[in-house]
Symmetry: C2
Subunit: 379 residues, 2 copies
């Protein structure tokens, strides 16, 4: 398998101005295409740094992809710097999403391919031009992923099932990835025909109660596809998540067949007028209460005429916390088939992380309450 490294060039990547999206993009392609991403190295728009980085990476990789610094402004020096050490480009690659072309350099039998750093141009060029140029083909994947919710990595492997890791390793290489409010455990099977055996083994351990998906869909994809399968529609009533739950669900292509809409009720007036929350409930229990979460989930389900309504109301901070309801408190609700379940949680993190944790919490509650019986069918 070819070892590819990425050299991402740009001051903005190292001075806090921009998130690198290209490492994720290139690394995602390793799931589909037959190559290994050995390293990703970020480097400033500085000729000396670029030259050192190219030398280092080229020495340990089969090919090198260089992103960024191909633009028209004076700080863009990638092409001339590469030309200085590698000679002129041997050919150019098409850019379907922009004006900058890709530039192909060669050193011995290794290719160095410079492509634009703009994320949607970068990923399009890889898929349409770079992989076929490097003769990198699509692959068959033998990984099985078990997604769990409700317990952290240390607890799972040290307390719940101390021998689990060793037993999983008998099937293949094991990896473990903590994500927001869950842990994803992957096993790369040595023998692809052992998939059913692996699933049966895991469903026989204490991990069973934590597994919500055997597969590699995101939480929101999983939910949208399940709702489509079950022919159920959904709406959301959001206070503290501010529209994030709706935005996550609508990130999934085709979500419009099951997601009808959302009421983001940041103010109490909107909770009362658009969701039918009772003023007395707000006065008695406060906006952050399981009682209000229940009425919000019920209200949005009725008002938007959907099968399911889900709700969040909480305190994302930094202000607004109190002794009994500190920042991180959230009440979530799921209303379905005439029954509404609500729950109060206390989570920790900054505003941004809390919004994500709140959103994941209500989506996990939905999965548990609505889809739990279907787990067996997925294996």
């Amino acid at each position: 398998m070819k070892k590819i490294s990425l050299l991402a060039i740009g001051n903005e990547l190292l001075n806090g101005k921009v998130d690198d999206l290209n490492t994720k993009s290139l690394s995602s392609f390793t799931k589909e295409y037959n190559f290994e991403l050995l390293h990703s190295l970020f480097c400033k728009d500085n000729a000396d740094d670029i030259i050192k980085s190219v030398n280092y990476l080229l020495n340990i990789s089969d090919h090198l992809i260089v992103s960024g610094g191909l633009g028209p402004t004076k700080d863009d020096i990638t092409k001339q710097t590469l030309s200085k050490i590698l000679g002129s480009p041997k050919e150019q690659l098409k850019n379907h999403n922009g004006t900058c072309l890709g530039e192909v350099f060669k050193f011995q039998d290794k290719y160095i391919i410079a492509v634009p750093g703009v994320p949607h141009e970068f990923s399009m060029m890889l898929e349409k031009e770079v992989f076929s140029f490097l003769k990198i083909e699509k692959k068959n994947d033998n990984q099985v992923v078990f997604k769990t919710h409700g317990m952290n990595e240390a607890k799972i492997f040290e307390e719940l099932e101390p021998d689990l890791w060793n037993k999983l390793e008998e099937f293949g290489q094991v990896s473990c990835l903590p994500v927001i409010r869950g842990v994803n455990i992957g096993v790369n099977l040595n023998d692809p025909s052992k998939k059913v055996e692996l699933v049966d083994f895991l469903l026989g351990t204490k991990l069973k109660s934590l597994i919500w998906q055997i597969g590699n869909k995101s939480l929101e994809e999983y939910i949208i596809h399940k709702l489509q399968e079950l022919n159920l529609t959904i709406s959301t009533a959001e206070s503290c998540t501010g529209g994030l739950v709706a935005s996550m669900l609508t990130d999934v292509a085709g979500s419009s067949s099951v997601f009808m809409g959302s009421v983001v009720s940041y103010s109490n007036e909107v909770k009362i007028n658009s969701l039918g929350v009772l003023k007395e409930t707000l006065d008695t229990y406060g906006a952050v209460s399981t009682e209000v979460a229940t009425q919000m989930a019920d209200g949005v389900r009725k008002n938007l005429a959907t099968d399911i309504g889900i709700s969040t109301t909480g305190i994302a901070g930094p202000g607004g916390g109190s002794e009994h309801k500190p920042v991180g408190t959230v009440c979530i609700g799921v209303s379905f088939k005439g029954k509404t379940i609500s729950k109060r949680l206390e989570l920790c993190g900054d505003r941004n992380l809390l919004k994500k944790k709140f959103a994941a919490s209500v989506l996990f509650l939905l999965v548990r309450e609505t889809f739990s019986v279907t787990l067996q069918n997925e294996s």
Copy 2:
């Protein structure tokens, strides 16, 4: 200024399972703290790769921060690998957000500090422990940022003002960062007292009409702070953005004082029932039309009783496009002071990028229509 590099360890960073958030986090600290982030290098949980990477980075950096691979599972080998080449850790650093401690190694006069890779633990440890340990202090920043909207980088510097870059360089180091639907131009002043002169110069060029902010706030922060200053409330009516605009606005701490709520109306029924869009308008012009955008913006402003209402209705794809309304078509509206402005745009990208472009478009329309007169005051 000390040169720091980051070595981010973890298979998941290179096989598409997770976004690295720590490079952005560490690089953001360069705005506030007095150090340069020289490189960020991603490396798998593999002892040979880790050793080579440490050697390479240590050779060109003053200190090294190593993230990831400190967990309890067998694939976490950072600590023992570093110990093998650097000897045992000299001391440990506290972790305020988790259980794994930081480990401090030393090589000659250089420190190698291993910290957990979990993003909120990583950033908290840097701020509370690592910088003070390395005696890195806070700094004064002399950068002025001009944020523009409506023209790409190449057009600005090649057609609109071909001599601009050279003239800006007389003030200091210039950088240029394309972002969604805009370009941010930064100048690091050689002489901090020349700030007013620089601003006056730029406002005398053709760039003036494109500048929407002189400063470094995000679009959503800028809007929330402006609304607070002007004592105006806002609500959003979102179809194609699916709650993203509301979620962006509520990412800003303190947004609850001006943001009241949102109606995400994915289905036509919700547009009619919750926003008062007329069925005839939907039938005559279709859901993606400036007429519907106008009624959505008006409707949410009235129903949620806010000063301003903004709206989006469009086709994010991949399905749903037609000859006259291809994927990427969006109609946006801003309703304020009895006047509603709407606009139709055709943008390109995949579903995820289009949602972001649609959201940015309506927020820029809001800035242009509501705040344009206040530009001079910010310099």
